[in-house]
């Protein structure tokens, strides 16, 4: 009896702890402006009022009346502010609108291309994101070619809320390897670990839809180039970020698609020779082929082995092409070799740590081995 009493007392106290923590700042829900997406741009010269103005912020908030099914207009409004930083823009908005901003539900943060080219602007905004307690880091981050505010002018055809639309696309990354998924905290960790290096998904606004396509590459806190769609797939594979997806390949003049649900990558050191480091990226995947051409019997081991071989070759060549691009064009290691060397070959890494980027582009040789397994071939033979 005593034990039961004690237990129930503990349960009550536990509930108190969990339930009393809901409300502490006495701001009513009607008075809140839920900023669901934030866009950050460098300021346009003509909009600059004082010399401190560096950014144009766009905050997107839902309009509750428009959320109903019948109403036609877009269910969100954009609030813009030109200021020196996110906190100041908040107080600017307080002077202009009756509601108080709330960032707890923000899903999406967009960076305009202009500010990504500017080391100072990027560093300042990243610091603000980390330092400012109202912003959380679990939202998704994107780069927008052109200006981030343009994205909010899109009137999406099928969804009312633009940020749910964008976040939804990104969450499809488990099914498509062409989508790069990057949370703000991962982006910041990557930026800091790579001293300004980052691969960030690109968001392209269209007329009635938005596409997550390709990725921006940053080096030393500056945008240096873009990856296209297939390169993003390769990037996901190289970084062990790929899960599901499909991969087209041409077999005997007929194109077919390999669909995978699992994609693993591991790195191993193969040898150190003549001042060069040889790394192997071993990839393994399994999946199905469910499209080919009529009258072709696929229930044939020899044929499947051939398809697997072709697929492997194509994955290898595409990956190696991207590695070349990082080594020769960007001359920076954002594909995990440094991470591997640091974690698993610390003694070796210490000898090359200084001036690593140069070493990476000249003296690290990466070979990709793809091991493809076709497990199933669909409903017919």
């Amino acid at each position: 009896m005593k034990a039961v009493k004690r237990l129930s007392l503990a349960a009550v106290m536990l509930l108190c702890v969990l339930l009393i923590t809901g409300c502490w700042d006495k701001v009513e829900i009607e008075d809140r402006l839920f900023a669901l997406a934030i866009g950050v741009d460098d300021v346009k010269e003509e909009e600059r009022k004082t010399s401190e103005d560096m950014y144009t912020f766009s905050f997107v908030a839902p309009v509750l009346e428009e959320m109903k099914k019948e109403s036609k207009g877009p269910a969100f409004r954009t609030y813009e502010a030109v200021s020196c930083g996110i906190i100041h823009s908040q107080s600017q908005l307080l002077e202009r609108f009756s509601q108080k901003q709330y960032f707890g539900l923000t899903r999406v943060m967009l960076f305009g291309e202009g500010m990504m080219r500017d080391e100072k602007l990027l560093k300042e905004i990243i610091d603000a994101i980390l330092r400012y307690h109202e912003l959380h880091n679990s939202m998704y981050a994107y780069i927008v070619p052109g200006r981030a505010e343009e994205v909010f002018e899109v009137k999406p055809k099928f969804e009312k809320l633009i940020m749910r639309y964008i976040a939804g696309i990104t969450e499809n990354s488990s099914y498509s390897s062409g989508i790069l998924k990057l949370s703000l905290s991962d982006a910041i960790i990557m930026l800091i670990n790579n001293k300004g290096g980052l691969v960030i998904p690109r968001l392209i606004p269209g007329e009635e839809e938005i596409r997550v396509s390709g990725a921006g590459v940053l080096k030393e806190y500056r945008l240096v180039g873009y990856l296209d769609d297939s390169e993003v797939s390769s990037y996901n594979r190289l970084m062990d970020k790929a899960k599901g997806g499909s991969f087209p390949v041409d077999i005997e003049g007929t194109s077919t698609v390999f669909k995978h649900f699992r994609f693993d990558r591991s790195i191993e050191l193969s040898k150190v020779e003549g001042g060069k480091i040889y790394l192997n990226y071993n990839m393994e995947t399994e999946g199905t082929i469910e499209e080919y051409t009529l009258n072709k019997i696929m229930l044939d081991n020899k044929f499947l082995k051939k398809v697997e071989h072709e697929l492997g070759k194509k994955i290898e060549s595409e990956s190696e092409k991207l590695i070349k691009r990082f080594q020769k064009e960007f001359r920076t290691d954002l594909i995990g070799a440094r991470d591997y060397l640091n974690k698993y070959q610390p003694k070796l890494f210490k000898t090359i740590e200084k001036d690593y980027d140069k070493y990476f582009s000249d003296n690290i040789v990466i070979k990709v081995n793809a091991d493809v397994h076709i497990r199933r071939i669909g409903l017919i033979k």
Binding site: M13, L14, V17, I20, D25, N137, S138, I189, P346
Partner: protein
């Protein structure tokens, strides 16, 4: 001397030690550790904890020579009245600083995340006054509040931390043992601050019927603390990597803020985290506070400790308000507290034990 009903059970000793040590340090320990030893930070936390097993052993051995006596009393037996009182006085001053540090750290975190516009003074005073109420009721109450809050604190705490596991990448804990030993040793004082509180066993074991029964719970308590702090550090480093972890002021808070699961009906768990953490701070202050008032009563030679509690609240409050900003607060704490802790946790018990052995002092 100690009244008969003012007894502490062996189980309560473990609870007191655990709940005293786990307080404001939980939030910042990962940052200190990552700063000191990079990915080896968690190993270092474990190592620092293991060292404390020896320290707590010395404390229990010392205390079991003088059953029914606390540090404030037997230090006078060992060193003589004047020196003993001086040492107890020093201990009390250290405890005042330590409590002021805890109160201020607590206020800073609360102001950062929850009560942005509440005056610092209100947060501090309300915290101190609640503690005052409990401390006035004596050692039994202190022990019981620790016993009571232990499960309420740790069960949800561990569950909460488990939610963050998907964002942890344990390869971030590699490479093992790459930091140089010199660098690791020089960082020990900075980590010692997170283990402050074990030295309170010097007092609380004195309230036990049979101090020899304290071996098991004391060691178990230190093991638990080490385990817990190591897990916290490892999770933070795994989630953020060493560079980011070292960059945060309160990595554990950032770790909790990272939790966002689609479908989880609560997001932003920092509120729950903070309310739990408030309990741990509260128990820390209560335990320290009691020892403070108790040793003052022993220095003054009075029977009761009650009358000193309320005036002490003002002193703690005053010292907690002294640092100008968060920066000077941490600087001040790092300049003063680690040396006191090392002195009272590692040096004083050993010296007292040696003298007691040499002088063959023992209460039978």
């Amino acid at each position: 001397m100690i009244k008969n009903d003012d007894l502490v059970s062996p189980y309560q000793i473990a609870m007191i030690i655990i709940m005293t040590v786990i307080s404001v340090g939980v939030f910042s320990i990962a940052s200190d550790a990552a700063n000191a030893a990079g990915p080896d930070g968690w190993l270092m936390v474990a190592f620092a904890g293991a060292v404390n097993i020896l320290a707590v052993l010395v404390i229990v051995i010392l205390n079991s020579r003088f059953p029914g006596k606390t540090f404030a009393e037997y230090s006078q037996v060992i060193l003589g009245t004047i020196l003993g009182r001086l040492l107890t006085m020093m201990f009390t001053i250290y405890l005042i600083f330590a409590t002021a540090y805890v109160v201020r750290s607590f206020t800073e975190v609360i102001k950062m995340f929850v009560l942005f516009r509440t005056p610092t003074e209100i947060i501090m005073l309300s915290l101190i006054l609640v503690c005052t109420y409990i401390v006035r009721s004596g050692v039994e109450c202190v022990a019981r509040i620790n016993e009571l809050i232990f499960p309420i604190l740790f069960i949800p705490f561990l569950i909460l931390m488990a939610f963050g596991l998907p964002s942890a990448d344990f390869s971030n804990l590699r490479p093992f043992l790459q930091a140089s030993p010199v660098r690791m040793l020089s960082a020990m004082p900075a980590l010692a601050i997170n283990y402050a509180g074990i030295e309170l066993a010097l007092f609380y074991i004195g309230f036990m019927e049979n101090p020899k029964k304290a071996y098991k719970p004391a060691i178990a308590a230190v093991l638990f603390i080490t385990f817990f702090l190591t897990i916290v550090t490892a999770l933070c480093i795994a989630a953020f990597g060493q560079n980011m972890t070292a960059y945060f002021l309160w990595p554990l808070m950032s770790y909790i803020r990272l939790i966002s699961m689609p479908g989880l009906f609560v997001e932003h768990l920092q509120g729950i985290m903070l309310s739990l953490w408030m309990l741990s701070v509260f128990t820390n202050i209560v335990s320290v506070y009691f020892v403070m008032s108790y040793s003052i009563s022993k220095i003054a030679g009075t029977k009761e400790q009650k009358q000193y509690v309320l005036p002490l609240a003002m002193v703690i409050y005053y010292f907690a308000l002294q640092p100008d900003s968060l920066v000077s607060h941490y600087e001040l704490a790092k300049a003063v507290l680690p040396y006191f802790i090392i002195l009272f946790l590692y040096v004083v018990p050993v010296i007292l034990l040696l003298i007691a052995k040499l002088r063959k002092l023992e209460v039978k």
